[in-house]
């Protein structure tokens, strides 16, 4: 966890969350009307990640060029001289320590802090705003990221209150977490969306920087004890939509007594975000076509007797 976070937590003795976005009225991350909490920080670096601003477990300054009027008020307040000139980039991210002075100085919100720390009570109050809508629609709260499990210490204090409110909780996870954390948190979850990206560990590592052993192991253990775990696969053309991976995935699902997988088509939403936080194109660049052929993925899974729920 980031220095800033740790320091603050030490000061108050309370665990804080680092959340980079809260979206309300989400309809595709679990049943009903949902508020989705995006936790910052992730162990994987998937080449296709559409939330690149979620990677670092610390606050980062992002630059929105279309809002900038080039007044350079930021330059006067930066203690690290990390302000760049020119139309496209403003922050020299490696130099930046995230103090936030420039963000405060920016009248037009061209500079924004990605990631906000939340105490349990405040975050609870925030999600409770839509509680009536959760109840009437059968919805609730979805934890996503980044990887929410990296902030298990916070969740441990946060989730029981949600449960106490009768709010349905869904977790979306990449699967790369410590099992002991899951054991503590699972009693407060109603549904887990669990990503299975690639069955071949070497290929998994080449696309995400980590092997899949821990992920598959976690999935096996979870499937055995948790009744509502739903495997999902982001379908990335050329990375995991091949016959071999689908057959292997299906075999793994059968081994875990699973019959259904949710398939999400890859989209390029993340690309626009890269420049804002000083990131270049990911490496290795998968050079992915715009729309994967979900139909053939569905058919191939069907041949392996796995039912696919395909997303738009």
């Amino acid at each position: 966890m980031s220095d800033a976070l740790t320091q603050e937590a030490e000061k108050s003795g309370e665990k804080k969350a680092l959340v980079f976005d809260i979206q309300r009225f989400c309809l595709h991350d679990g049943p009903g009307i949902r508020t989705v909490l995006f936790f910052k920080g992730c162990a994987l670096r998937c080449a296709w990640c559409h939330n690149p601003e979620s990677h670092q477990a610390r606050q980062e300054v992002a630059f929105f060029a279309h809002c900038c009027v080039q007044c350079y008020a930021c330059r006067g307040v930066c203690p690290k001289t990390a302000i760049l000139t020119g139309p496209d980039r403003r922050i020299d991210n490696p130099l930046c320590d995230g103090c936030g002075n420039c963000v405060a100085s920016c009248l037009t919100r061209a500079l924004r802090m990605i990631g906000k720390t939340w105490g349990t009570a405040d975050l609870l109050a925030e999600v409770r705003k839509d509680r009536d809508f959760f109840i009437s629609s059968g919805g609730g709260v979805t934890l996503t990221g980044g990887e929410p499990m990296l902030q298990a210490a916070f969740l441990e204090g946060f989730l029981p209150s949600l449960k106490g409110d009768g709010i349905h909780v869904t977790l979306e996870t990449c699967g790369h977490f410590t099992w002991a954390d899951m054991e503590r948190i699972a009693p407060f979850l109603d549904l887990i969306y669990f990503d299975l990206k690639q069955m071949d560990s070497a290929r998994h590592e080449s696309y995400t920087t980590r092997g899949n052993e821990l992920i598959l192991d976690n999935f096996r253990r979870l499937a055995a004890v948790f009744p509502h775990v739903q495997p999902r696969m982001p379908v990335i053309p050329g990375c995991n939509d091949d016959e071999k991976n689908i057959v292997a995935t299906a075999a793994f699902l059968h081994e875990c007594a699973m019959e259904t997988i949710h398939c999400l088509p890859y989209h390029r939403m993340g690309e626009a975000k890269l420049g804002r936080i000083g990131m270049g194109r990911p490496s290795p660049d998968p050079d992915i076509p715009h729309r994967p052929d979900l139909k053939s993925v569905v058919e191939r899974f069907a041949r392996e007797e796995i039912h696919v729920v395909a997303y738009d």
């Binding site: 009307i33 037009t108 839509d130």
Partner: protein
């Protein structure tokens, strides 16, 4: 005997034919009312009579001499105007300025109206007679003041007094007319008249009621005669029989009480025409027809040859007739009331006077009709409450999710409480229907001038920042309040704002009192009064306060803009100290030339995002407006109550108002009704509804309008309908008052704008009412396109 399927086909064929005839007709101006009215008043002998008798006789003359027609396939008859779809001119009310630009009607881009050269010449010929005689000239004040008021109203910067065109906005007691007929009403008036001294004002009022009761009865009989003639000539046996039935029905009603469903509807529609022709043709509402027509429906069902299918056909035929009635607006009026809309509300569902759910088969049939017809009139409303049947809610949600735009929804619990808080008896409050756009009244008991005036609230802030002057003006229009240099806190700004608000509300009320008295003195409404409880008994016309309830509604236009602007001042000047107040005023005067400040202001929190502080300012504005109105009583003895809907006035008022510090440049439209500033609801519909729910609507007795615009794709299927249900249910359970739902593919609106022929009858909800997209002014089309569309987040 027809088999059920052929019967269904014939019904739907007839309804389709009627609908196509009405939708395909080019709207026109009918001169008949204006010419007959003028002829009556040109007679000096008539001008000596009591106004009650004048109006009753003039209206009787109109009904006696206007052209009458029965169109092919019609079951419910009665042509409002000489055109298939047409509007009348009221030269004695607001007609003179309308005639003054009548030559442009055929050619104007928005809402063109057909008229022959002969008709135009006719209309122009009556202007000299009415110029010194129309309502505004009859105000009881000095000549200069009168002209000043008229001139002020032509540009209407601070408020627009709709009541200068008449009051109207009633849900008449049609149940009574249907039950006892005009003869029953005349007999009642006769009974009361006996006790009044002959020739007294009260006596004349009763006399007027008797005259128009007889006139209305004869109006029906004219159609009986016509139908008989047509039946004689008709070769086709089915149609011949239909014409004979029509003749029989019209011979009986409205003179006598109706005996069955057909007669009840016909009686109602004759009266609907006559009440529209009596004074202002706006907000004349049949109201809760599913309730008061129900006994006739049950009676008709006892006849084995009558089925609910036929009831639906008659109801649909009636609905289509309502769409033949349109208003004729001059260009200045269209700025406020776009879309050829005249607010004839039909309401379904809700509770009865004892508080039990009152949904019945007619409510269901009407829900089907509004979905199948999708025409601009009538303005269909549905009442809902906590115990509304699941099937009823579901039907409404399915209809809305499919993009019908109707019905608009009204929350019984909140509206009934709002009316009770403002003096209604519980049973009367439970019998409410909205009239016009969204304004609740009691069916048959309220004479509420619900659209008395529209008030430009944000311009009060412009004046407050500038010592009572408009930006760039030497003249002081408002009160001299503290200069910006001396305002030390946001409380000082508030004080100046309230100062301007109170100043102009006071001025408005003064003007309104003149108008109210003139309406009563010059243009009483004996027919409307006969259909409003209290008037006959008290012997007082509704224009003189004879009805049971007498609110006047003043619309608070631009509350969110004003609230957001005040919040921005507080943030920028007093809390963040980004600038001084005079510096801010200077920026506004220069129309925020600096992109940096514009972005800054626009980026501040805004109403509609569930942020308590920003929302609090909009609530403050509404409360300030309410409190400014609260001390006054109208000449009819009723209260002035605030409404939160803007028709299309938010565009016009926005156009003439200077820059404001929430990042709105000069001339930009304000937000509609209680909506957030366009595009400023950034957190989706749940946050928006939470913000709107933070307003206590039981204070807003004149109604509120909330538009929710959905991407049709979002509402697809069962999941979509259940999401909509969850949103609306929660909104209402927590005190929401009204909501209307637009659902369409956003692309279709853009296509419809680019090529008007592509979707000629695309119906959209504007502000408390529906209009064909093509009938809207370009700016209003753009606004609808740019309203935040609730789509799926990912």
């Amino acid at each position: 005997m027809l088999s059920p399927t052929t019967e269904i086909t014939r019904c739907s064929r007839r309804i389709n034919t009627l609908r196509e005839a009405v939708q395909g007709a080019k709207p026109g101006v009918c001169t008949e009312r204006a010419m007959i009215w003028t002829r009556y008043f040109k007679d000096k002998e008539n001008r000596k009579k009591s106004p009650y008798i004048q109006i009753a006789e003039a209206l009787t003359e109109v009904l006696k001499n206007k052209s009458i027609r029965i169109y092919p396939d019609e079951l419910i008859v009665g042509n409002y105007s000489s055109k298939r779809v047409g509007g009348a001119i009221y030269p004695e009310l607001h007609g003179v300025p309308v005639i003054a630009e009548a030559h442009t009607f055929a050619k104007r881009k928005t809402n063109p109206l057909e008229m022959s050269n002969k008709e135009l010449r006719q209309l122009l010929s009556i202007v000299p007679f009415w110029l010194p005689r129309f309502l505004a000239m009859k105000l009881d004040t000095g000549f200069v003041k009168k002209l000043a008021l008229i001139a002020d109203q032509l540009t209407a910067k601070f408020y627009l007094i709709n009541e200068l065109g008449g009051v109207a906005h009633i849900a008449p007691d049609y149940a009574k007319l249907i039950a006892v007929g005009t003869e029953g009403i005349a007999a009642e008036a006769e009974g009361y008249q006996k006790d009044a001294p002959r020739g007294s004002e009260t006596w004349c009022f009763y006399e007027g009621v008797k005259i128009i009761a007889a006139g209305l009865a004869r109006f029906g009989e004219r159609y009986a005669g016509l139908a008989r003639e047509m039946a004689l000539e008709e070769k086709e046996p089915t149609r011949k029989a239909e014409l004979e039935t029509i003749a029989e029905v019209c011979q009986r009603v409205p003179r006598l009480g109706a005996r069955n469903f057909h007669e009840a509807l016909q009686s109602l529609f004759f009266a609907q025409i006559a009440v529209n022709l009596e004074s202002l043709d706006n907000g004349i509402c049949p109201g809760r027809i599913d309730q008061y027509l129900y006994p006739y429906y049950r009676t008709s069902l006892m006849d084995p040859s009558f089925s609910s299918r036929q009831a639906k056909e008659l109801l649909a035929a009636f609905s289509i007739k309502m769409a033949e009635i349109i208003p004729v607006f001059s260009k200045p009026m269209m700025r406020f009331h776009g879309g050829m809309f005249n607010g004839q509300v039909v309401t379904v569902g809700g509770v009865d006077e004892s508080g039990n759910d009152a949904v019945n088969e007619l409510s269901d049939l009407l829900l089907e009709i509004m979905d199948e017809l999708r025409m601009r009139q009538p303005n269909f409303h549905a009442r809902v409450h906590r115990s509304s049947p699941e099937a009823y809610r579901h039907k409404i949600n399915r209809t809305l999710a499919s993009g019908s735009g109707s019905p608009a929804l009204y929350n019984d619990e909140v509206i009934i409480e709002a009316l009770c808080r403002h003096g209604y008896k519980t049973a009367d409050a439970r019998n409410y229907t909205a009239v016009g756009c969204v304004e609740p009244v009691c069916q048959g008991k309220s004479f509420s001038s619900t659209d008395a005036a529209l008030f430009n609230v944000p311009i009060m802030l412009e004046l407050a920042l500038n010592e009572g002057r408009r930006f760039g003006s030497f003249f002081r229009s408002g009160r001299k309040t503290k200069p910006a240099t001396q305002m030390k806190s946001i409380e000082d700004v508030r004080e100046a704002f309230e100062g301007q608000l109170n100043f102009f509300v006071k001025r408005l009320i003064g003007d309104l009192h003149l108008v109210e008295k003139a309406n009563h003195k010059e243009h009483p409404t004996p027919l409307s009064s006969a259909l409003l409880e209290g008037c006959l008994k008290s012997g007082r016309c509704s224009t003189g306060g004879g009805a049971v309830y007498n609110f006047s509604g003043i619309q608070c236009v631009g509350p969110a803009d004003t609230g957001d602007a005040l919040y921005a001042i507080d943030r920028a000047v007093f809390r963040e100290r980004r600038m001084t107040l005079p510096g801010l005023v200077e920026l506004m005067r220069k129309d925020i030339p600096d992109e940096k400040w514009l972005l800054y202001f626009r980026g501040l929190e805004k109403f509609g995002n569930d942020e308590p502080e920003a929302d609090g300012w909009t609530r403050y504005v509404i409360a300030a407006f309410d409190s400014a109105l609260s001390g006054y009583t109208s000449a009819r003895g009723g209260r002035y109550v605030p409404g939160l809907y803007s028709v299309t006035a938010h565009q016009y008022f926005g156009k003439i108002t200077g820059a404001l510090p929430h990042g709105r440049r000069r001339g930009e439209a304000f937000a509609s009704g209680i909506a957030p500033v366009n595009g400023m609801d950034r957190k989706g519909p749940t946050a928006l509804l939470n913000s709107v729910n933070s307003i206590n609507f039981t204070q807003i007795a004149n109604g509120v309008n909330l538009n929710l615009q959905f991407d049709l794709a979002l509402l697809k299927g069962e999941k979509g309908a259940s999401i909509l249900d969850a949103l609306l249910k929660t909104y209402f359970e927590r005190g929401g008052m009204q909501v209307q739902v637009n659902a369409f593919d956003p692309q279709i609106l853009v296509e419809a704008r680019n090529d008007p022929n592509k979707y000629p009858h695309l119906l959209v909800r504007v502000s408390g009412y529906s209009a064909y997209f093509n009938d809207l002014a370009p700016a209003m089309k753009e606004e609808i396109i740019s309203r935040t569309v609730i789509a799926s987040v990912r």
